[in-house]
């Protein structure tokens, strides 16, 4: 702690103040980070306990040896592979629908002129303000009347009709692209659909990736929609199946098995987040621009 060239003690100098601030911030963030991660630690710890270690006071924080077999037990007591397959089908189709319909609409809003275009765009944005509860009952009745309840269709089909936030995100991106790119293609005789498909889509890969990861996480974590539309156990998604575990005699009372199932269920979004962090951050930065 040298106080060279100055009469002030180190902690009063500018560099000293910066160091102190950094140290204080680092400490605060470490404590907060521990609090944030603690639930995950508790989940994993419980998932690896023997049945007789779960309800102990004081608790076993680190079970040795870890009961890795709990994962196997939890996943084989229920047809987990079926839930995983259902979830995969729904998530993949919703992602395809969202990416196609949103980029398609966004290109129109960004580049094509037509009377009423901006009014329609404001309507699209207006749907963001609408609480989902208002449309819930009639939408359910509509799907019920066409016999789609207890199928995946109510979960998938709406995604092919665009969603406001993603359209907004993609439109903002298309607005930043130089028009010259399309002009060249127009001179070569390409129609607008061709331009959208062969020029705009490849150029917008980073934004599409952002929309893709958010759609994945949103659809994967969605609980309400599959809860009201899927009745048969053979059609459950992981989220819905999980919610019934706690009441099910096969898993419910055994907290270690329940936490093992929860651990497995959070793996897909966790892996995606670790692998594609920059796309998550980009999406937030872009949504921040909106404010």
């Amino acid at each position: 702690m040298a106080t060279r060239n100055t009469a002030l003690p180190f902690w009063r100098t500018r560099r000293g103040q910066d160091r102190l601030a950094t140290a204080a911030i680092f400490t605060t963030l470490c404590i907060g980070g521990t609090v944030v991660l603690l639930p995950f630690f508790w989940m994993l710890s419980t998932a690896l306990k023997r049945a007789d270690q779960v309800y102990l006071s004081p608790p076993v924080w680190v079970p040795i040896p870890p009961e890795v077999i709990n994962f196997w037990t939890a996943l084989t007591r229920v047809p987990f592979h079926i839930y995983a397959l259902n979830t995969t089908i729904i998530v993949v189709l919703v992602m395809i629908g969202t990416l196609l319909s949103c980029s398609f609409a966004a290109y129109g809003f960004a580049r094509m002129n037509a009377p009423g275009r901006d009014f329609i765009f404001m309507l699209v944005l207006g749907t963001l303000m609408l609480p989902g509860a208002v449309t819930l009952v009639p939408t359910y009745l509509m799907f019920n009347s066409v016999g789609w309840v207890n199928t995946f269709l109510p979960l998938i089909v709406p995604s092919f009709f665009g969603s406001a936030f993603n359209i907004f995100l993609l439109r903002q991106f298309y607005l930043t692209l130089p028009v010259e790119l399309e002009d060249a293609a127009k001179i070569d005789g390409a129609n607008p659909y061709r331009i959208w498909w062969s020029i705009m889509l490849p150029l917008s890969q980073p934004v599409l990736a952002t929309v893709g990861v958010f759609t994945f996480v949103g659809t994967y974590n969605d609980f309400f929609t599959p809860l009201i539309y899927l009745a048969d156990e053979s059609k459950y998604t992981i989220a819905v199946a999980l919610s019934y575990f706690q009441g099910s005699p096969r898993i419910g009372p055994q907290m270690h098995l329940l936490m093992a199932a929860v651990t497995v269920s959070i793996l897909p979004p966790l892996i995606l987040f670790l692998a594609a962090q920059r796309y998550f951050v980009r999406g937030i930065v872009m949504s921040g621009i909106k404010g």
């Binding site: 608790p59 094509m112 699209v124 509860a133 509509m142 936490m259």
Partner: protein, 317 residues
């Protein structure tokens, strides 16, 4: 146009493109509507149609099996006489009033810390954002276990520092607080939106303020807060809309209990729509929520000139 005069022939090359321009404009409008078609249909089928239909249904009695029967405003009069509805409204109101400002304040403070220039900050940002990515049923069940009165991690840790924790989810005085704490855990999404806003504030402003001798707190109050107010506004509106629609946590963690202490409006709506099949009554609840959200959003918008700072020459939305 067919005149062979040299003056006219000079104009011809200009006239031709302008003619093409018009027909291209027409076909452009056509193509524009084709591009917008999915979104327009989406709004008509999944938003506008259902909104109108639910208004209609809210004046009927409808159980799916028999046809809807027009009963006027009976659903609404029942609604306001129903103690459980007032309880749901009370729960949602308390939750919103407490959790929205708490989350905003917490997110802002965290964003300021995460905006500090320091090594390893990317790691911290990821850690704090993690709960936003991993949300939903699994996490709700995890919180149920964390709040377990006897063996949950929270009360165990509290007892380590000599505090006898409450029964949380089993205690009607504490269950709602438990859900508010749960919501605080996912503050990372809001935080990163603030962070993006913070990074848009020009560094020179702080440098200039420092030269003028302004301390950190003054800098925060007279630079950060005003320049961040559009982002705060955005987060506030989304926070209110989100808080009034909380469902998963309340449904999975407490099932609305104990003794209706966590009966949120969305849970009350769910019970009437999908347990008792009172579709008309459920629609009345939905429309009440809709009007409530609209009024609150309108109030926030109206109040915005008082506290939201727009840079001159740039129109904020």
């Amino acid at each position: 146009m067919q005149s062979p005069s040299s003056a006219e022939s000079v104009l011809v090359p200009e006239a031709a493109p302008s003619h093409r321009h018009i027909s291209r404009w027409n076909s452009e409008a056509f193509h524009a509507y084709v591009f917008m078609l999915p979104a327009i249909l989406g709004i008509l089928i999944f938003t506008l149609g259902p909104v109108i239909a639910s208004l209609f249904l809210s004046f009927t009695e409808y159980n799916i099996i028999t046809d809807p029967e027009w009963i006027g405003i009976a659903n609404y009069t029942t609604l306001f006489q129903e103690p459980l509805f007032w309880q749901a409204l009370r729960v949602s109101a308390i939750y919103s009033v407490v959790s929205v400002p708490l989350n905003l304040g917490f997110a802002l403070a965290l964003a300021v810390l995460l905006n500090h220039k320091m090594r390893g900050m990317t790691f911290f940002r990821s850690v704090y954002y993690l709960p936003t990515v991993i949300s939903g049923v699994g996490v709700a069940m995890l919180w149920r276990w964390l709040f377990n009165a006897e063996f949950g991690a929270i009360n165990v840790l509290l007892s380590n520092v000599g505090i006898q924790g409450p029964a949380w989810l089993l205690d009607e005085n504490w269950a709602l607080s438990a859900l508010i704490i749960t919501s605080m855990w996912s503050v990372g999404g809001t935080t990163l939106i603030f962070l993006a806003g913070l990074q848009g504030i020009p560094e020179e402003l702080y440098e200039a303020a420092e030269i003028d001798g302004a301390g950190r707190w003054t800098q925060f109050r007279s630079i950060t807060l005003p320049l961040l107010s559009t982002v705060t506004f955005f987060n506030l509106v989304l926070g209110i809309i989100g808080a009034l629609q909380v469902f998963t946590d309340a449904f999975v963690i407490t099932r609305g209990g104990p003794n209706q202490a966590t009966l949120f409006l969305a849970v009350y709506l769910y019970q009437h729509a999908f347990l008792y099949l009172n579709m008309g009554y459920a629609s009345a609840i939905a429309w009440f929520m809709f009007v409530l959200v609209m009024l609150l959003t309108l109030m926030v918008f109206r109040s915005s000139p008082l506290w939201v700072f727009y840079e001159t020459g740039r129109k904020g939305n």
